[in-house]
Amino acid sequence: MNQSVEPSYALVVKKDCPTCALIEPVIAELIKAMAGALTVYVQDDPSFPATAANPIDDRSLEFSYKNNIEFVPTLINLTADSEDRIYGWDKQQWREFTGLPTLGEGLVDFKPGCGSKSQDPGMDEVLALRFDSGILQARRVELAESEDVVEACYERGWTDGLPVVPPTPIRVMRMLAGSDRSPSEIIGNVPPDYRPCSIEKIATNAVMAGAKPEYFPAIIAAAEAALLDKFCMHGLLCTTYFSSPVVIINGPAPRQIGMNSGVNALGQGNRANATIGRSLQLLIRNVGGGVPGGIDRATMGNPGKYTYCFAEDESDADWPTLAMDRGFDRDQSVVSLFAGDGLTPILDQQSRTAASLAKSMAASLRGVAHVKLFGLADAILIVCPEHRRLLKDSGWSKADLKAALFDELMTPGHEIVRGASDMAEGMPEKFKDKLLNKFRDDGLHIVSTGGTAGMFSAIIGGWVASGERGSQLVSKRFSTSGDENE
């Protein structure tokens, strides 16, 4: 290759920038000195700069985007082996860069530049969409002018019954910007149809659910957790039972993205809680093909099948979180999925000792699925802050509570076999002489959330196919700051 290449420069300016206006005489000097070796690109008004004869109109921002221009003015030496550039106005620097020792005589020595128009808020995704056509690979659905876009989503069967945010390419691009994962990465196959699920498809459904890009890492983690074999998403979807994924988030992420772990934590009203859970449900519906009445055969279902997601109250440093129980650290963001159904209250306003409260909770936990069915369904016990305080005041740890519940829930088989207490339902006769626990090992999880007023704890009953033959609670760590996932 011939090394004696003529120097070649590109200068990017915008009229709206006072520094660009300041250096108009400098541009004239550069043109005079460099002649055809300098190309001027203008981002906003091709009549600017008056000192350049033929500035290139970059109002489309193609050059600015493709050359990653962050500031104006930017002067680039295109002949340098490793591309070299300066920006703003620094007289000494410009003189050295161009080799013109008298450049800008009479101008101030220094004036910082302005932001490039390609860096305006939201522009990055607009430009990526315009100039990197390969980023999004999903099929485009063109709507007729007369179609109402929200109705069009309904008519195509994309919704859970509530309106969705129309998944336009730009919205999906912005969602994708919430994570550094490649849009084309396949995280696995989504049941029941076992179709490949790309990060782009997760983003598309997250847009429809109404999520913000900052929630996207949690949503990806929830999707990945749902695809873990231990979770048994396929069976969970097909079951006639009530259950569906319950999403619980621990660590710093819930606070960063403003999740609710306080008043009404399991209720309506918080965008992050609502849309993270809904994103997972829409993904299963749209990519997996899990449609009620189709493969989803639930007798009744439960309202949590729209969305069921909350964060743990981690304000008490003495309380080990659900994620910590699963082997993670307090400073790690973790999403856990549990195959659960609706919420059963445990009202106890009279207990003043942990021992009494534990008995109350155990008695209520017996009702999961059926008072005489043991070892079938796991459960999550949600301890409200007031009950948590009572435990603490009694000197009980979470482990103490768990041990007490285990003891309380040991039951002689003859009390719960079929026919006992004049109820046909119950455990098979073969357990008559055994001592049984309501929950299998690792079948009872304890988490804390909710407002500080009210002695109301709660139970999320699990799927009756809990454990190795069905679904087990799964957890997946995620990062909100771009570092490696586990």
Partner: protein, 93 residues
């Protein structure tokens, strides 16, 4: 305008065009509604349609719009959707 293009959120197993509802496989035992839009001679036309459909084993229910000039009232379309497996709208002068 940008709202006019959407990204398909599904596994893309179905054609992108909206699909017709599933058609009846047989008329035998099906209930077919005949909706007279109240134009002249609609009755004679639908009488003949009814006769032929009954030969194919269909049960017929007859409906009519109050006036051909307006769309059918919501109550009428809801009633037809509850009572019938299919509907033929008689569009005739």
């Amino acid at each position: 305008m940008s709202d006019m293009t959407l990204l398909d959120p599904t596994a893309e197993l179905k054609p992108v065009e909206r699909q017709l509802l599933p058609r009846l496989r047989s008329l035998s035992g099906a209930t077919v509604g005949l909706l007279d839009i109240s134009k002249p001679r609609g009755k004679e036309f639908l009488d003949e349609v009814e006769r032929q459909l009954m030969e194919l084993g269909a049960t017929i229910k007859r409906y009519s719009k109050p006036t051909f000039a307006r769309v059918a009232p919501k109550e009428l379309t809801q009633r037809i959707s509850i009572e019938c497996d299919a509907v033929i709208e008689g569009l005739a002068d």
